[in-house]
């Protein structure tokens, strides 16, 4: 687990999202899985099996925490109760880092349980930057924010998505979890250049990659995490490795979850793709 000047947190290698279906298989045969990403909210519970399993994984793997409900872009007040539970979980898990999404998930006390996109405006930027700073104060560490897949865009946008993400990271001094599949999906849905997206992201802020599958819904691509990673995303991943170098990489699968061996094979493929490029860099 080495940190470099560009990436101040350790590089964990290649990992998977921890899912109940794979609990026993992962403990019995961890194979090529070097680290695990947990969905924070699944373990922000008082006790029982989730925390008992978590303790076993904590002893075997480096863990990172990935949330879906921080709602950093919401105009509702930050949820202090949520932050307290997140902080308590972080004390228990001692994750390498904590991440969530650059989006909002609810407003007026209603949770939409979706990663709703923000308008890329100066107003939204100032709002998010201020809230990221407060969250980082509560957690006592820098967080990672992930780019989301989106299906709508806003007529009054003043910045591109990557400009917005980069500006949040720079102004709030947070890090970036770059989801390669989400770049592909959003680029397709909005007619953007995925390479321009990669070029617009400050390399020193990128701490983690996500890889995942998606599906087609009419003319749009939908971020479903229910299928193998497609070739276009693998190609974009290669471009990301060229641009950002060695970055902790993991595969997310949330539905139609295959046997662990299938995800391990995808992880090996990611490793094989990246290896020649990383050797060139070295």
């Amino acid at each position: 687990m080495n940190a470099t000047a560009d990436h101040p947190l350790p590089c964990l290698g290649y990992g998977l999202g921890l899912r109940v279906d794979h609990y026993e298989a992962l403990l019995d045969h961890p194979g090529n899985v070097e680290w695990l990403e947990i969905v924070s909210e699944n373990y922000m519970v008082p006790g029982g099996r989730p925390l008992a399993w978590l303790e076993r994984f904590r002893q075997r793997f480096p863990l990172v925490m990935h949330g879906v409900s921080l709602s950093i872009g919401s105009t509702d007040p930050l949820d202090d109760g949520y932050l307290a539970r997140l902080s308590a979980l972080a004390h228990r898990v001692e994750p390498a880092w904590i991440s969530d999404h650059l989006c909002w998930t609810g407003v007026q006390g209603v949770n939409l349980h979706d990663l709703m996109p923000l308008p890329y405006t100066e107003e939204a930027l100032a709002h998010v930057v201020e809230r990221v700073s407060r969250v980082q104060d509560v957690l006592g560490r820098r967080i990672l924010l992930e780019n989301v897949s989106s299906y709508i865009s806003f007529a009054d946008a003043q910045l591109t998505e990557w400009q917005f993400l980069a500006a949040v990271a720079e102004r709030a001094d947070c890090l970036i979890l770059l989801d390669i599949n989400n770049i592909h999906v959003s680029a397709h849905n909005h007619g953007l250049s995925p390479l321009a997206y990669l070029d617009g992201i400050p390399a020193a802020r990128v701490q983690q990659f996500h890889l995942a599958g998606h599906e087609r819904g009419g003319q749009l691509l939908i971020d479903t995490h229910d299928a193998p990673i497609v070739d276009d995303v693998w190609q974009l991943y290669l471009q990301a490795v060229r641009r950002f170098g060695r970055v902790s990489t993991m595969i997310e699968r949330d539905d139609h979850i295959p046997p662990l061996a299938e995800l391990m094979a995808e992880l090996d493929y990611a490793r094989e793709l990246a290896l020649p490029l990383l050797q060139d860099v070295a």
């Binding site: 006790g47 029982g48 989730p50 105009t75 209603v110």
Partner: protein
């Protein structure tokens, strides 16, 4: 109100609306117009909630059969989610079925949902160490009157008239759908967690009564007095011993202490 706030409120209403309204300020293109794009979120909200709730209510699924999908759909439409953990939206489903039409005309549905939800909440409730029977056996006989037994904090007693436990058991074991039975007298189901395993069983009226008394922190002497009201004197103590044995074997108790009640 800021522009961002107003935008988020409009988007919220659009997601919750029965039909996708036209939202100003959104872009469409040749791939999809703005309404179709917003519809991805509108449909996703409903699918996501239904997909998250379904596994929390396997007994209800078996009992409601083909109506289960319609039931969840009507609940999601009537009750926006307010909790950051999507699973916790299930907390309101039993009451929705108890009071909402047409579901309240089938009271077994609400009973079933209550059992499913009690099991779900016990699953990740606070860990408590069960009382060691040997430890309790060391309490001198003369001190038992002042003994206060503390049941597990997450423990629940559900009262109803239907054999909902048979549906939950069948759902968990992938057995055939049982026949729904409705009883004249109310029945009581104890739901608790023993170590990491969630358990449930029927309890008699007298056990429910003394368990409730223990949860109110009444002394063992008072528990025995209450039991004596249900049994003749010669039967009360053996019955109390049997109930206590069951609680200890099942890990129902989380603690005890000796304290004289003030007069």
């Amino acid at each position: 109100m800021s522009g961002l706030q107003a935008l988020q409120q409009r988007m919220l209403q659009a997601v919750l609306a029965d039909k996708a309204p036209r939202l100003r300020g959104l872009r469409g293109d040749e791939r999809a117009d703005a309404s179709s794009r917003m519809d991805v979120y509108r449909q996703g909200y409903r699918i996501r909630l239904r997909d998250a709730l379904a596994p929390e209510f396997p007994g209800l699924h078996l009992l409601a059969g083909r109506d289960f999908g319609r039931l969840l759909k009507s609940y999601v439409a009537a009750h926006p989610s307010g909790h950051y953990n999507i699973r916790w939206h299930g907390a309101g489903l039993p009451a929705f079925l108890e009071y909402g039409l047409p579901w309240r005309e089938r009271p077994a549905l609400a009973e079933m949902a209550r059992l499913d939800w009690a099991i779900s909440t016990a699953f990740d409730a606070v860990d408590e160490v069960a009382v060691d029977p040997a430890e309790l056996a060391s309490v001198p006989a003369e001190a038992w009157a002042d003994l206060h037994l503390r049941p597990q904090a997450h423990l629940q007693v559900l009262s109803g008239f239907c054999n909902v436990e048979a549906f939950r058991r069948a759902a968990d074991r992938e057995l055939a759908r049982p026949r729904l039975r409705r009883y004249r007298r109310s029945r009581h189901l104890l739901v608790w967690r023993q170590a990491l395993a969630v358990r449930y069983r029927l309890i008699e009226d007298d056990e429910r009564m003394v368990l409730s008394a223990a949860m109110r922190d009444e002394s063992f002497a008072l528990l025995c007095d209450r039991l004596a009201e249900h049994h003749d004197p010669s039967a009360a103590m053996p019955r109390m011993a049997g109930i206590l044995r069951g609680w200890l074997d099942d890990g129902v108790l989380a603690g005890w202490r000796l304290q004289q009640d003030s007069m």
